[in-house]
Amino acid sequence: MSEPVIRCRSLYKIFGLNPADLRIDGDGVVEPSILEREGTVTAVDNVNLDVSPGELLIVMGLSGSGKSTLVRCLSRLIEPTSGSVEIEGMNLLGMGDRELIDLRRSKMGMVFQNFALLPHRTALENIAFPLQMRGMKRRDYVERARRMIALVGLEGRENNFPRELSGGQQQRVGIARSLAVEPDIWFLDEPFSALDPLIRKEMQDEFLRLQSLLNKTIVFITHDFDEALKLADRIAIMFNGRIEQIGRPEDIVLNPATDYVSRFTSDVPREKVLRVGSVMNPPSEGEEVADRAVDVTDRVENVVEYVLGQRLPVPVVDSGDTVVGVMHQAHVLKVLFPSRSEPA
């Protein structure tokens, strides 16, 4: 595994705390009594996180769980109270203003929930804004901004002001702006939460398309568990500033670490999340199986019909056509009706 692009250790953001009162032990953990002091709010509580190159990490939590504060600590829009953040091995929190500005001008892009477009600039000018800030020549930034417009499919809207665009179009501008500097790291703070459900779905697909083209390292914030399941490589679930659990969607659904996480996962359509590999049995010698196999990476929902239609268990193969497991009808039923699997 390669070096993580983002690495944070013992990260804290405590609002309303006088830094002089901070007491930290050798591991960077803040003494718990301080967190409960009157008048302080702990928005980020001892967060440790690694994001690998090209990984899409989703930070999921309800409002007030500290997820927005966390992403702002990672981009240093908010100064963390203690802990460390490394971006590609560089110490983010030790950077001076100049270094930080350079980093943002070359390595980071961010998309905001309410789009945060500059009202006095057209779509094209908004997209070109970060390029202008770093002093690019007019010809070059217009050219780059036009490419970005094409990338997000807004041709013909270059000269519209934000107020003349629909929500979905505005967020496309926001996405294009955040991508204009060709950043390696892409922060998205609830980018689709302010959009209508249909537009949201369309934008999610668009986002997946962009990511398959660009392969950025992404931290994506959302409060929508379905969205997290649909997009994530890994999900981190936050509650009261802490990360309750971090892992692949299947892991979280199958093995919720805490009650809080299991409450989230209880209503999830598990057949849409779980893959065959995570519910099958190991292959047993001599067992009679059906003749057509299913792929180990298939989602359960795609094989339900076939498996339930067989009299015999179904063999599971990997990409090399080697049999790696066997799937019984009971497995499928357990995925579909988890709470009814144990008769009283």
């Binding site: 500005i101 001008r105 905001f112 309410n114 500059l118 057209t122």
Partner: protein
């Protein structure tokens, strides 16, 4: 509730004790400088027993003296005064010619006419073009050209300076929390300090004259710009600032390319406010020697040439409406980057402007009428107006005198005497109780502190007289204004009309309201109150209309579906929901009344305003400032209590 009963009982006990003659003098009255006998006579110049408990005035006098002489402030003021004079001369020269400033010759009046016309047309269209062009015509035809140009030159100097200072202070205050905290109380005092109170210190530091007027104007116009700059910057969504930071902005780039442009609406509103405040103040600055339309108006008013005064007043009003219209249209103008127009289309208005002005210059030597309106072509209807006033005096005199007599004897005098009769501790207790009821201990202490200052400064009685005029005027404004507002709010079209007239009337410089009142009632205390009522009724109407019209449509629909008739809808939905907003209107009415009561001193009152007036003519700086603060503090006390209540009420109704 028990605490309030105690307070009430105490007030009652004080009153009873006084009527029984048992109240010791020190609990009854503060040391006075107004004897009872003098109250009924106007302009009691003789009764000046100045017995303040704390000599605030003297302290201020010494402070200012110290600043002027020892700290070398006078060197600075002299320098500023000189530079400003040069600036004004330049604008004066551009507009009027003459040997001062740049030494240009006067432009033909038609040049200004086409500028006004094209500016109006390019910003909003024909109506504004006709209005602004017509105003320039009016100046020319009614022979007010010289004075109007003087006023415009003053504005041209004062407005940009006010905007720049306000913008800078606002930006620094946005970035430095301590400055914001220090500025907020100053800004609220500045907003309620009477116009005249500004003039006195300025005169002391800068002497009498043209540039002093501009300085007073700038000092008066800067606070709203600061306030709106601060507000605008604070209202920029945090996400937008973050987006700027993530785009790699340096601090300066963030300010000039993200924050200020995003605060555009508030900043442009600030510019509009500065222009209107400047115009209002330029008129009043006539009292300290600023020439122009205001000076001319004052001059004619003092010699009771009402017809000519009216013509000047109309000119000022027209100027106000035009400047307001132009600056608003400019603020609302959408910029169209998209249109990829050829040069001559894109700059069609500037080109047209240059061509027309050039034409005016070229043709003027051949057609003298284009250069200057000949004297025999100017008109005046002053005689007609004077005749009308005479007719009113002749025919309505009896009726008006009776009306006036009735009002004074049966309403005003008893009200005033009642306020003066109350022992001062009872007033303090009542106000403190109100504060306690509406906002808790903080409010009670704050309002009490305001009143205690007035008592200690020795202006208790004058303050009570000011208070009685404000109370009476406010009462009338509520009785007339709110029903008018309700009536207007009941139909969309009427509401629009009402708001339009409120907007228009509000642009008039307050001093102008004195004019029609003098024409009807001559110079006396009743006309002062009438002027106050006419001026202060505007917010009562406006806020009522706004409050009712801004009720959520779902609520109106719910009322309709519940089968409400018009009266039920009004009583059960519209009034209860709109009342916090209406109360804010009443608050504004009271603020307007305070400001107008002081201006109305010009037509004869015997309250604080008249004393400020006197302080101005004596250039008694300490007295003037203390009096100004007294008025400001009374207004702030009321303002605090009413807005407090309205906010609480809005919160309870879940309207925020």
């Amino acid at each position: 509730m028990k605490g309030y009963a105690w307070l009430g009982a105490l007030v009652l006990a004080l009153l009873l004790a006084k009527s029984a003659g048992l109240l010791p003098a020190f609990l009854d009255e503060l040391p006075l400088h107004l004897e009872k006998s003098s109250i009924d006579t106007l302009g009691d110049a003789g009764k000046e027993a100045y017995t303040e408990l704390v000599p605030f005035g003297l302290i201020l006098d010494h402070t200012f003296e110290f600043m002027r002489e020892e700290l070398g402030v006078s060197l600075v003021t002299r320098f500023v005064s000189k530079r400003l004079k040069e600036l004004i001369d330049i604008f004066d020269n551009i507009l009027r010619g003459g040997r001062k400033g740049l030494g240009l010759s006067a432009p033909p009046w038609t040049a200004l006419l086409v500028i006004a016309f094209i500016l109006g047309y390019s910003l909003k269209g024909w109506r504004l073009a006709l209005l602004s062009g017509g105003t320039v015509m009016y100046f020319a035809i009614f022979g007010l050209w010289k004075f109007a140009m003087e006023t415009l030159a003053l504005l041209a100097a004062a407005v940009p300076i006010s905007i720049i200072i306000g913008l800078l202070v606002g930006i620094v205050a946005y970035r430095k929390k301590w400055l914001e905290l220090a500025l907020l109380p100053i800004l609220s005092v500045a907003q309620t300090l009477p116009h005249f109170a500004y003039l006195i210190p300025v005169v002391v530091f800068f002497g009498i004259g043209h540039q002093t007027g501009v300085i007073a104007t700038i000092i008066f116009a800067v606070p709203p710009m600061v306030r709106l700059t601060l507000l605008g910057l604070q209202r920029v969504a945090p996400e937008i600032v973050e987006a700027g930071k993530m785009s790699g902005c340096t601090n300066l780039q963030l300010l000039f390319r993200v924050q200020l442009p995003s605060a555009r609406n508030e900043l442009l509103l600030g510019v509009n406010q500065v222009i209107m405040q400047c115009l209002a103040m330029v008129v009043i600055a006539a009292f300290i020697g600023a020439s122009g339309l205001g000076y001319r108006l004052l001059h004619k008013l003092q010699s009771l040439k009402l017809g000519q005064s009216l013509e000047i007043g109309v000119a000022i009003v027209l100027l106000a409406v035009v400047l307001d219209g132009l600056s608003r249209a400019w603020a609302e103008k959408k910029r169209d980057y998209a249109a990829d127009l050829p040069f001559h289309r894109r700059f069609r208005y500037p080109i047209l402007l240059v061509v027309m002005v050039a034409a005016a210059y070229l043709l003027a030597p051949y057609f003298p009428i284009l250069e200057k309106v000949p004297r025999d072509l100017t008109v005046t209807y002053a005689k007609t107006w004077d005749g009308l006033v005479d007719w009113i005096v002749l025919n309505w005199s009896d009726g008006l005198t009776n009306f006036r007599y009735f009002l004074i004897v049966n309403v005003l005098a008893p009200l005033r005497d009642a306020l003066l009769y109350m022992p001062y501790p009872s007033v303090l207790l009542l106000v403190a109780g109100l504060g306690l009821l509406l906002g808790g201990y903080y409010s009670a202490l704050l309002t009490l502190a305001f009143l205690v200052f007035i008592g200690l400064a020795g202006w208790w009685d004058r303050a009570m007289i000011t208070a009685y005029m404000v109370v009476f005027a406010t009462f009338i404004c509520i009785v007339i204004g709110i029903p008018v507002g309700i009536f207007s709010a009941l139909s969309e079209r009427r509401a629009k009309t009402a708001l339009f007239w409120c907007d228009t009337f509000q642009t008039f410089p307050s001093f102008i309201y004195i004019l029609p009142v003098i024409m009807l009632f001559q110079v006396n205390d009743l006309s002062a109150i009438m002027a106050v009522i006419v001026y202060a009724i505007i917010p009562a109407v406006r806020y009522t209309v706004e409050g009712i019209r801004s009720i959520a449509p779902e609520l109106e629909e719910a009322a309709t579906m519940a089968g409400c008739n018009t009266r039920q809808r009004l009583v059960h939905l519209q009034l209860p929901v709109a009342i916090p907003h209406i109360m804010l209107g009443v608050n504004q009415t009271i603020m307007f009344a305070f400001s107008m009561v002081i201006i109305a001193a010009f037509v004869g009152t015997i309250d604080l305003g008249q004393q400020i007036f006197k302080a101005l003519s004596e250039t008694n700086i300490g007295k003037g400032v203390v009096l100004g603060l007294c008025v400001s503090f009374m207004a702030l006390a009321v303002d605090h209590l009413v807005t407090r209540w309205a906010r609480e009420r809005r919160r309870l109704l879940g309207l925020d």
